[in-house]
């Protein structure tokens, strides 16, 4: 397998992990919205309410930065990162 194929395989793996986390925060938890809202969550808000106001939104912000850093590492590992002047 060539260098490039390995790079792409790893990138695809990262994509799958990213999309799995995305799925949990955008879809997964809202399957159980009614049940979860009975429980008191962060800062005293009901759980589901808190996720729709802040929790999921914040998780997406963190997820994107995490993804960007991981992808940069993968690019560096296989020598595909851009030159700084680029």
């Amino acid at each position: 397998m060539s260098n490039q194929e390995k790079h792409w395989e790893k990138s695809r793996g990262l994509l799958m992990i990213t999309l799995a986390i995305w799925f949990v925060f955008s879809i997964g938890i809202f399957l159980f919205g009614a049940e979860m809202n009975e429980v008191t969550g962060p800062f005293g808000y009901p759980w589901t309410y808190w996720f729709t106001c802040q929790g999921s939104l914040g998780a997406f912000v963190i997820l994107i930065f995490w993804f960007a850093n991981r992808q940069e590492k993968i690019d560096e590992e296989f020598g595909f990162s851009e030159r700084e002047d680029g």
Partner: protein, 603 residues
């Protein structure tokens, strides 16, 4: 303006700008104390900010294609994030979102999740790869990846349908705000709004729009956050509302069960002015089925990843790496406003319905409420209404009605903040609507000038001629949008949601599979774009004309059906026809690695 110098000095320039704007707010506040009228303050805020944007637009004028289409590809990560956030947050986000949450609660908050979660898809599936491609427009990517004028043209069609649906709503919003702030009829205010929009984009194209959008973001975020923090502190709800409103949320629930949701008779409701609504849903309870919530969120997420005016913002970053990070910054800046909208809705609702607060009106006598200044103002503006349905002389929860816009526009006044804050909010709403309208008009005009005129009709055209065509189109599309906006056919929020559905129906899978599936070919992409758009449009028309729909897909989520048809059509047709040639496959390989030259280079 020297280029390199200008980019290095950006933090300083926008720092001074922010300081200047805060100074302007303080001057206005002092002027108010000295007796300046509310109307003069409103005019001052809108006129001053629009003048600054126009000045930035003028300073960013350019005669180079690279600067006009992609701002010279040198916009730093964080600033591109701010520009994208302004591009993204429209009049609907700014003016209508808190109102929607106020009235509909949980079911509506699917939009919050959808309009943020979509950025994960943008960052991981598309933005970095399209940046590597080096295209000027989204159809440019489709046209080169799949090859052929028909594919390119199909993409232009989908882009135009989606963006045009969106832009009429934004011009409508600028017109509404301009007509209130400047006190002129809506039909004229629409064109004043349009001229302000064109001033930002016509001379500098994407470069002008980028730097005005950063300025507009600063205005709109100050205008949104300042009242939220101020009201929260004034009410004693907590000095940092986002972390401290749990008691208030619980208190609203308590009051709701104390008052009960009394259903009004149809005859009573007929007396309520059009567009106003009462509180009929619990504030923080889960009031939608999982599928209703998830399908709306999913449609908005996939729509986000298909809307060209957002995607093209990531063409302006200096590198692929910067494009990825920039998506993160965009979402961070969006998060600041979106996470505040539910807090504003909570504060607004509590201050109106809690009888123990001095601002509360529930339980007071009808005559007493009718005598309040702000009630009279907003009642006159057709945004507030009370009526004594049960004839007991006091205002009940079910006897108080408000327009969605009033939550953002009227809450500062209800909470007793000085008028200068209301002027600031008007300027913020104007900034939000203008910045989105600019991005959209530019997306349409660029697609037609670059993809239809330059790539299909006259590939030998010189740069100067191309830019003249681009600018003429900008004006023509702007006026077409304003003319339709002046007719006031649809509401702001409804047409924004439709735009997402149109975009995802036609573009989501052709874009994503263009990067992630080498086997995708021209025939498949054309089938996916046109089939998806046609299926989505058919479903919308069917449901609107009395069709029952299926699988719980409504007129707000028709994109789910459209994109499913698009996916199936694209995969089936691609597999039935020849695989893409070697050169195309090699191009896809190239797109997948950040290093090396862009595919298209300078055009």
């Amino acid at each position: 303006m020297k280029k390199g110098n200008f980019i290095d000095n950006l933090p300083k320039i926008y720092g001074i700008y922010t300081g200047g704007f805060i100074g302007f707010i303080i001057i206005m506040a002092i002027a108010e104390q000295m007796g300046m009228t509310a109307k003069a303050i409103g005019i001052g805020f809108v006129a001053f900010t629009v003048f600054i944007y126009a000045l930035i637009g003028y300073l960013s004028r350019t005669a180079q294609a690279d600067a006009y289409y992609v701002a010279g590809r040198q916009v730093p990560t964080v600033f591109n994030g701010m520009a994208t956030a302004a591009d993204w947050m429209s009049g609907a986000s700014f003016v209508a979102m808190a109102g929607g949450i106020y009235f509909k609660g949980y079911g509506y908050m699917a939009l919050l999740v959808g309009w943020t979660g979509g950025y994960v898809l943008v960052a991981s599936l598309l933005a970095p790869y399209l940046r590597k491609f080096g295209c000027y427009t989204v159809p440019d990517f489709i046209g080169t990846r799949y090859g052929g004028n028909l594919a390119r043209f199909s993409a232009v069609v989908v882009l135009t349908v989606a963006s045009f649906t969106y832009v009429t709503a934004q011009i409508n919003a600028t017109g509404t705000i301009a007509s209130v702030a400047l006190d002129i009829p809506f039909q004229y205010a629409v064109y004043i709004g349009l001229i302000s929009i064109l001033l930002c984009s016509m001379l500098g194209g994407m470069r002008g729009v980028t730097w005005t959008q950063v300025a507009q973001y600063i205005v709109l975020i100050i205008a949104y956050l300042l009242p939220v923090f101020w009201i929260s502190n004034k009410m004693g709800a907590g000095f940092f509302p986002h972390f401290m409103l749990a008691d208030e949320v619980a208190r609203i629930g308590e009051l709701e069960s104390q008052f009960g949701f009394v259903k009004n008779s149809a005859a009573d409701l007929a007396t309520v002015p059009k567009g106003l609504a009462g509180i009929t849903k619990a504030h923080s309870a889960v009031n939608a089925t999982p599928w209703a919530f998830i399908s709306l969120a999913l449609a908005m997420m996939m729509g986000t990843a298909s809307l060209p005016h957002v995607m093209m913002r990531y063409f302006t970053t200096p590198s692929v790496k910067a494009a990825r990070k920039s998506v993160g910054w965009s979402l961070f800046f969006i998060f600041l406003l979106y996470s505040s909208a539910p807090m504003l809705a909570t504060l607004s609702k509590l201050s109106l319905i809690d009888p123990t607060l001095s601002t509360g009106i529930i339980g007071k006598s009808i005559a007493e409420v009718q005598a309040i200044d702000w009630y009279q103002n907003w009642n006159q503006a057709n945004l507030m209404f009370i009526s004594d349905f049960n004839g007991n002389g006091t205002v009940e929860l079910n006897e108080f009605f408000m327009g969605g816009k009033a939550v953002v526009l009227a809450t500062p006044e209800i909470a007793g903040l000085p008028y200068v804050i209301s002027g600031l909010v008007a300027a913020g709403g104007m900034a939000a609507a203008m910045s989105t309208a600019d991005g959209l008009i530019l997306a349409i005009a660029n697609a037609i000038s670059h993809d239809v005129y330059y790539k299909i009709i006259d590939p030998k055209a010189e740069t100067a001629k191309r830019l003249v065509v681009a600018r003429v189109l900008l004006v023509v599309i702007g006026f077409a949008g304003a003319t339709i906006a002046a007719m006031e056919i649809q509401g702001i929020l409804g047409s924004v949601i439709w735009a997402f559905d149109f975009a995802m129906s036609g573009l989501f899978f052709p874009l994503v599979l263009g990067v992630w599936w080498k086997r995708a070919n021209r025939q498949g992409a054309i089938a996916g774009m046109l089939g998806g758009l046609a299926a989505g449009t058919w479903y919308l028309v069917w449901v609107r004309t009395g069709g029952s729909g299926f699988l719980g897909i409504t007129q707000l989520t028709f994109g789910i059906f459209g994109s499913a048809v698009s996916l199936i059509a694209m995969v089936v047709v691609s597999l039935m026809t020849q695989e893409p040639d070697k050169a195309t496959q090699k191009m896809v390989d190239e797109v997948r690695v950040p290093s090396g030259k862009t595919i298209l280079g300078k055009q």
